[in-house]
Symmetry: C2
Amino acid sequence: MSGKVYLVGSGPGDPELLTVKAKRLIETADVVLHDKLPGPSLDLVDDEKAEDVGKRAGGEWTPQEYTNKRLVELAEAGKTIVRLKGGDPFVFGRGGEEMEHLAANEIEFEYVPGVTAGVAGAGVAGIPVTHRAHNSSVSFVTGHEDPTKEESAVNWQALAATGGTIVVYMGVGKLPDYTQVLADAGMDPETPVALVERATWPGQRVATGTLDTIVDVRDEVGIEPPAITVIGPVAATRDRVKAFLRNDYESSHSRE
Amino acid sequence: MSGKVYLVGSGPGDPELLTVKAKRLIETADVVLHDKLPGPSLDLVDDEKAEDVGKRAGGEWTPQEYTNKRLVELAEAGKTIVRLKGGDPFVFGRGGEEMEHLAANEIEFEYVPGVTAGVAGAGVAGIPVTHRAHNSSVSFVTGHEDPTKEESAVNWQALAATGGTIVVYMGVGKLPDYTQVLADAGMDPETPVALVERATWPGQRVATGTLDTIVDVRDEVGIEPPAITVIGPVAATRDRVKAFLRNDYESSHSRE
């Protein structure tokens, strides 16, 4: 009798932003396979049942193939496994690949959605990713790809043309590249842009600027991964509301 | 001494998909202002503290102005208020407008993100909104606008050109319009499309087809709001995994 795998989203990091179901499953699972992105919510995982499949000693990453194999191995041993991922498993989380691998190996699985960092990270900074007055769509995109590559899978020109908010995940390093591509595509250089580092983690930081200035702002403030980038008129909402916005996340290091 | 407003996302409907924080706030608030979209999670709200600001007797909707005014009125009376919205308050939820109204009236507020239906609704049907093999972006768009209007705020051509997954919220009624606009924009008529009705509610239903067939499928199955539409190659993932996908939501009425 095989076990079962729960593909579970941790949300952006704050342990209180786990879903009730995720918390229950973490408490009752035999094993919790995780990487580092769940952040502070990992404090809820018992050491005895935690298995880190993120960064390994020596700075290397655990190959996806190892994680896939390990999930099947544990399930075939009859275990109940939580595969815990930062945010939502199906938003730039490789949960789709793991799900297909489990199905191909005839392992039962369940998906438990999580609060995705692109929505929550903007929101806790006072930025609604959609707003009737500004847009009717929002696009989430990974910043890991090189936008200057000929064969880039991300069509930044089309994203700019949607007129909607653009939220870039893991977008600190390539910020100069994709802001340039967006400017070249005709996006207004005055378009508001915000960076939110370690959203909902202790010491969260927010930095704001425009398409034209945000790279300099990033460098001055020293924004580092993990962070999201929010591009669009909604990013200016923060200035109008922040005096009355309360939460426990933000440090005094934000710079605007 | 004014009270405080919590703009809280309920998630897609399953009460276990509330965040731990949302559940705590619902339990401790003086008043919970809600509409119908939180669905089954409304069962957790005590009748004495619930105020429905959704559909009113006679089929009319409570105007946004009333809700804004009521939030300020309650806060000025010193109450702790949960403004509970389906999904996330800032994803097509008018939370941005309410936040700005609160700040303009010098009322303290906090944003508590929720699991958004566009991600969760696809996922529980076995569809990852992003997948390395298929795309590097996903766009969320409202289906309430008429895409054939000259001045439509949604640029469907640009959304098609992104090459990413498109998820349409509230998109049952205008399905014939925007699928036609996407086809006219050159999207492959064989592109997989899925409809997920009442995602994570009891009696959830899923119907799948292609850009070319999905309107007929909708009519045959009788898919009704609330539902999301998922457009893109990822929608075909469901077929590869559904034999091993477990959850308690889906009824036997799905049709593929």
